[in-house]
Every structure is written in structure tokens, then in C-alpha cells.
């Protein structure tokens, strides 16, 4: 039986935890509430308040009606841009990371730990530091202001993480499996495809969630390398604020922010438990 009496120390702990949670959730609450209030209401009262009437029209306006950078199609085209960048970049970086992680963990070769070290060094380079090199690269290969350029950046930048995740998962796989398969006559890719990949779903789910969330939420590259119609939704949200600078439209802006955040939220809700499980799970039992 658990002790259900509340000692003073326990009450204090709950109090502190609740305060921290409230502080953390407050901005979200304000945005959610504002997304349901009309503009007039916000202007008359204050930024913080309960909706007097539910203004669902904010969502419709944010999705497809509002004008951003001279076109009035809401944030829908920018959501599509984000999807067109995030989905391929997530899939490609996860697959390449899995292959790289498999190579450095299960195939010993000269310099393997060096290569792994250099790849993961990418985790520690600040994003700002990489802006200039990427500018030069994108300019030289003609991908400035294209979605393909962003896919390239996110795929390559993502490799540090995906390789790290997969490598750490694969080191727990017994090497004898590889040796047995080599004697059976399987090569590098057949072993990966037939033996390693079927064991990988926990770590692939983790990697996909991680990559999807990060690429979707990424802002700096989006705003730096794309303009106008090519921007991902995170960058477009800023353009949206700029476009309505004359009359603040907090309701529509809030709705746009929430729509933009929905995909990552959904991914987390669907795969969150795999995420926690996958990060702690051993590879093969």
C-alpha cells in the first residue's frame, strides 16, 4: 500500500512543480486563447483574457485567407513547403544515418572511429557558424532560394544526429551476427537490408521523430536561404507578422502559430511513447 497522507514536504514539492508547469505552459495558453478571440476583443481588453465568443474564423483566415508577402492564400502554401522540405530530408537523413551508423559500429575498418568522431563533431558546431559555408555551397550549385537547397542542408546537417543515434543502437547488436552472415555469403548491403534493418524499428522511430521535429521547427536556414513563395512555414510566420504590422492581428497570428505547430505535435503524440522507449531500449534480446 502506498502512503497516501500528504506530508508538508510533499505539498511543497507539488506546489513548486505546479508553479513551474504553469509558468512553462502560460505562453501556450495565451496563444491558444488568443487564437479563439476576435481582433477587436483583444484590442479592447488585453493580450490575456478568456474568449467572450469563440472566433473559429481566425483559423480559416490563417489557413487560407490571409495575405502574406503579396499573396493572399494564408499559410497553406508555406505548410506545404515545410512538408516538402521536412519529409524528404527526414527520410534521407534517417536512411543515410542508419547506413553510416551500421558501418561504423559493425564493420571495423581503418579510421572508423575517426570518421565517426568527425561526423558527430557536427553536433557541436553552432548553426550560425555554418551559414556562410552553406551560402557559398548553395550559390555554387544553384540551389539558393529553393526547397531542394533546404532539403540538402537538413539532410547533411541531420547526419550527425542520425548517425549518432543509430550507431549507439547498433553497437549492442552482437558482432557474431555479421560474421555469420559473411560466412553465409551476404555482403554489406544485404546484411543491412535483411538482418540489421528489420531489427531497427525502435531507433528508426526515434530518429524520424527527432529529425521531423527539428527540421519542421527550423527557422534560421529557412529565413536565410529562402524568400517569398519558397519559405517554410516558420519563416513565413514572421513575414505574416510583418505584413500585418499596420493593424496587429493577434488572433489570426496565434491561429497561424498553432497550425504551424500541429504536425510536430501530432508526430509526438503518435510516436512519443516509442521515442522514450527507443532511447532506452537495448537492441536485441
Amino acid at each position: 500500500m502506498r502512503d497516501r497522507t500528504f506530508a508538508p514536504s510533499r505539498i511543497l514539492i507539488y506546489l513548486v512543480v505546479s508553479l513551474i508547469a504553469a509558468a512553462y505552459l502560460a505562453p501556450l495558453a495565451v496563444v491558444v486563447l488568443n487564437s479563439l478571440r476576435t481582433n477587436e476583443e483583444i484590442a479592447q481588453a488585453s493580450m490575456i483574457g478568456w474568449p467572450k465568443q469563440w472566433a473559429w474564423s481566425n483559423y480559416a483566415a490563417a489557413w487560407s485567407g490571409f495575405c502574406v508577402a503579396e499573396t493572399c492564400a494564408g499559410i497553406r502554401p508555406y505548410m506545404l513547403n515545410s512538408a516538402l522540405v521536412t519529409i524528404p530530408a527526414t527520410i534521407i537523413s534517417t536512411m543515410l544515418g542508419a547506413i553510416a551508423g551500421y558501418a561504423v559500429s559493425l564493420w571495423r575498418f581503418r579510421g572508423d572511429s575517426w570518421i565517426y568522431g568527425i561526423v558527430t563533431l557536427g553536433l557541436f558546431l553552432p548553426q550560425q557558424m555554418r551559414l556562410l559555408p552553406w551560402t557559398i555551397v548553395l550559390r555554387d550549385i544553384g540551389l539558393i532560394n529553393t526547397l531542394a537547397g533546404l532539403v540538402l542542408i537538413h539532410t547533411i546537417q541531420g547526419l550527425s544526429f542520425t548517425t549518432l543515434f543509430c550507431r549507439n543502437y547498433y553497437v549492442a547488436i552482437p558482432h557474431e551476427l555479421i560474421r555469420a552472415a559473411r560466412i553465409d555469403g551476404a555482403g554489406f548491403f544485404r546484411i543491412f537490408w535483411r538482418i540489421i534493418l528489420p531489427l531497427s524499428s525502435p531507433i528508426l522511430i526515434v530518429t524520424v521523430i527527432w529529425q521531423f521535429t527539428h527540421i519542421w521547427n527550423e527557422f534560421l536556414y529557412g529565413v536565410t536561404f529562402t524568400t517569398g513563395q519558397q519559405q517554410p512555414v516558420t519563416a513565413a510566420l514572421i513575414a505574416l507578422s510583418a505584413a500585418i504590422a499596420d493593424i496587429p492581428q493577434h488572433g489570426v497570428q496565434s491561429a497561424a502559430v498553432i497550425i504551424a505547430a500541429l504536425p510536430t505535435l501530432l508526430i509526438y503524440l503518435l510516436g512519443g511513447r516509442y521515442f522514450v522507449r527507443g532511447l532506452t531500449a537495448g537492441a536485441v534480446k
Binding site: P174, L177, R179, A180, A181, R182, I183, G185, R194, I195
Partner: protein, 369 residues
């Protein structure tokens, strides 16, 4: 025909020499066991034979073909691993056919081969299961099935029984031996368990510190260990070894344990002519525990040699009684009949079988006679 010939094989990692010039010739149909303590190089040797590791020097010939630069899959070998290394996401059937699939064997032929092997190993009901649904013994069988289905020139076993519990290990040991007798395969089997080596091998290669200490049939290894290491490694409890002095008496050699002490033990040796140069010198005497028995035991042939010795400890095992005693002050173990239990602290009479004594050179540690 030699199924496997290893010539002057060595393996170095940076400044560590793991194998120091190995020479082995294994005939077709032989069951060769590589045995030695951990770190002796036996698994490295097996990996080099399999092609999973490269030799620093020397050559490997399988079926008369030098295979140093041949990849594992083309060496005509099959291997059974300690962890079984079954592919976790495949069924038993897929595990067995994976190799054939890689070699593009036609489907119908694969089916036939699986059916044969499954029948031989009695794993037909398991073919649709995943490895995680199998017991240790069943996994072991499937791992052997995967090797057998290839019908290779050479089978390599890397400590295949060490993950099984004691009872199953004995069963599988017999099964592997029976399998060898039935299909007459050439097997190289690595283990650290000298009992496995003794019971299964047609020839044993005892390895230590990267060298083959002795390569001979089990009886020879047991009866005439080439040196002190082999003497002490093979057999459980191990051979008793003790310092002794070799003297001459009436023209024949006599070995004296604890010379000069009031309780010195003098043992007359017959047929030890090779020991003649050591008369008057120190030697190391080796005597197996089963050659020291209760005083009433009669070892075939000669009149028994009876020694009174103080008993230090008694360990009844059920099948026999192990007695720790002192011969001329030197500790020794004896195996006596189970129903005799000498009193620790008192003296008791022991019969010695002197025909099976080994003498070693104390400097080179090699067998003299």
C-alpha cells in the same frame, strides 16, 4: 587428403603477438579440438581459418587450395558460433536458407536441403518459429542446421556449448559426436573445456600463449602430456605435479619425493630409460589423481606400491572421494572409491600406480619420460 593445412601462421596486433607460428595438418574426416585457456589464441586462429580475420604471416590451405585471400563465403566452410548468431528477424527456415539465398541456389533445391537437415536434427516442427521462441538447445540445433545445410569441406565450431546449462551441454556434446560419426565431416572445434576436448576429439591441439603445445589424439595428450602446461590443463582434477629427485638404485631409476625428510617417498620406476640422463638431478614428477587410490586397490600387473600419507581434506563427490594428502610433504590429490572416507588429520594407506608417472625437465618443463 589434408582438409586443412596451416603453415607458420602468425598474428600480430600492434605489439602484441597473438599467434606465434602455428603449424597444423588436419586430415579429412577428423574431429580436431583446439583447446586452451582464454586468451591462448584459439578463437583468433579459428577466425583466421574462417576468413573473418587476416593472418600477419603464413598460409592456410583448405582442401588443397591456399585461401589467404579468399573471402569467407568462398572458402567452402560453415561455422557455428557461441551465441548461435541466429538472425533474430528471420524464421528458422529463413535462417537455414539465408546462405543458399545468398548463393542463388534454386528454390526447389533449397526446400529439399532444408527438409533433409531438419529431419537429421529433428527440428521440423520448429521451422516456422523465430529464434526468440526457441530454447537454448533448439537454437543450438538450428545453428548446426544452418552449418550442415551448406555441406562444406570444413566445419568450424566456436565454443558452441558454453552458453548451455550443464545437463544440456552433455547431451549436445554426444549429439555433435554422433553427428560427426554419421556424416563423417571434418570439424575444427574450439573450446576452453578440456572435458569437451577429451570426449569429442579424434585429435586435440592444446594451445597456450599463441602456440600449439601438443597436437595428438586424446589418449596421448592425457597419458603423455608434452609439457607441464598440458599436464596441468588436461584432466580434472589436474595432474599432481611436484618437485622430486631422480636417483639410481640397483641399476634402475627411483624417484624420491621430499628427499631427506623422514617421510620421503621412494618410487621405483620401470620402463623409464629415457630418464637416465636425469639421474642425480631434480625433476618434476607428475601423477594423475586416479593413480593414487585407497590402499586396498590393486593396479593391474605389479605388486602394489603402498604409501602411508597424512590426509588433509576429504571431498566426497558421490561417484568417488577426492582426498587431499601429502606425499613426502608435497600436496597431492587422490581419487578413491566413494565409500572410503579417510579421517582428515590422520594417516592412511594409499596405493600408487607408478606405471603412469610422468617426469618433466624442471627447466624446459618438457616431458622426459
Amino acid at each position: 587428403m589434408a582438409a586443412l593445412s596451416i603453415r607458420a601462421l602468425s598474428k600480430r596486433y600492434a605489439n602484441l603477438e597473438v599467434l606465434k607460428g602455428i603449424d597444423l595438418d588436419i586430415e579429412s574426416g577428423e574431429f580436431t579440438v583446439l583447446v586452451g585457456p582464454s586468451g591462448c589464441g584459439k578463437s583468433t586462429l579459428l577466425n583466421i581459418v574462417a576468413g573473418l580475420d587476416r593472418a600477419s604471416d603464413g598460409t592456410i590451405e583448405i582442401g588443397g587450395r591456399i585461401v589467404n585471400d579468399v573471402p569467407p563465403k568462398d572458402r567452402d566452410i560453415a561455422m557455428v558460433f557461441q551465441s548461435y548468431a541466429l538472425y533474430p528477424s528471420m524464421t528458422v527456415r529463413q535462417n537455414i536458407t539465408f546462405g543458399m539465398e545468398c548463393r542463388h541456389v534454386p528454390k526447389a533445391e533449397q526446400e529439399k536441403a532444408v527438409a533433409n537437415v531438419a529431419k537429421l536434427l529433428q527440428i521440423e516442427p520448429l521451422l516456422g518459429r523465430k529464434p526468440s521462441q526457441l530454447s537454448g538447445g533448439q537454437r543450438q540445433r538450428v545453428a548446426m542446421g544452418r552449418a550442415l545445410v551448406r555441406d562444406p569441406l570444413l566445419f568450424l565450431f566456436d565454443e558452441p556449448l558454453s552458453n548451455l546449462d550443464a545437463k544440456l551441454r552433455v547431451e549436445m556434446r554426444m549429439e555433435i559426436k554422433r553427428l560427426h560419426q554419421r556424416i563423417g565431416a571434418t570439424i575444427v572445434y574450439v573450446t576452453h573445456d578440456q572435458v569437451e576436448a577429451m570426449t569429442m576429439a579424434t585429435r586435440i591441439a592444446v594451445m597456450h600463449q599463441g602456440e600449439v603445445q601438443q597436437f595428438a589424439d586424446p589418449d596421448t595428450v592425457y597419458r603423455y602430456p608434452a609439457n607441464l602446461f598440458v599436464a596441468r590443463f588436461m584432466g580434472s582434477p589436474p595432474m599432481n605435479t611436484m618437485r622430486a629427485r631422480l636417483e639410481a638404485e640397483n641399476g634402475g631409476p627411483v624417484v624420491v619425493i621430499g628427499a631427506g625428510r623422514p617421510d620421503e617417498v621412494r618410487l621405483r620406476l620401470r620402463g623409464y630409460d629415457a630418464a637416465a640422463p636425469f639421474v642425480g638431478r631434480e625433476v618434476v614428477l607428475g601423477i594423475r589423481p586416479e593413480c593414487i587410490a585407497e590402499g586396498s586397490r590393486v593396479f593391474a600387473g605389479d605388486a602394489p606400491i603402498i604409501v602411508n600419507a597424512p590426509v588433509e581434506m576429504v571431498e566426497p563427490t558421490g561417484a568417488e572421494t577426492i582426498v587431499l594428502l601429502r606425499l613426502g610433504g608435497e600436496p597431492a590429490m587422490a581419487r578413491i572409491t566413494p565409500d572410503i572416507r579417510p579421517t582428515p588429520g590422520a594417516s592412511a594407506a594409499f596405493a600408487l600406480d607408478t606405471r603412469r608417472i610422468c617426469l618433466f625437465d624442471p627447466e624446459t618443463e618438457r616431458l622426459i619420460a
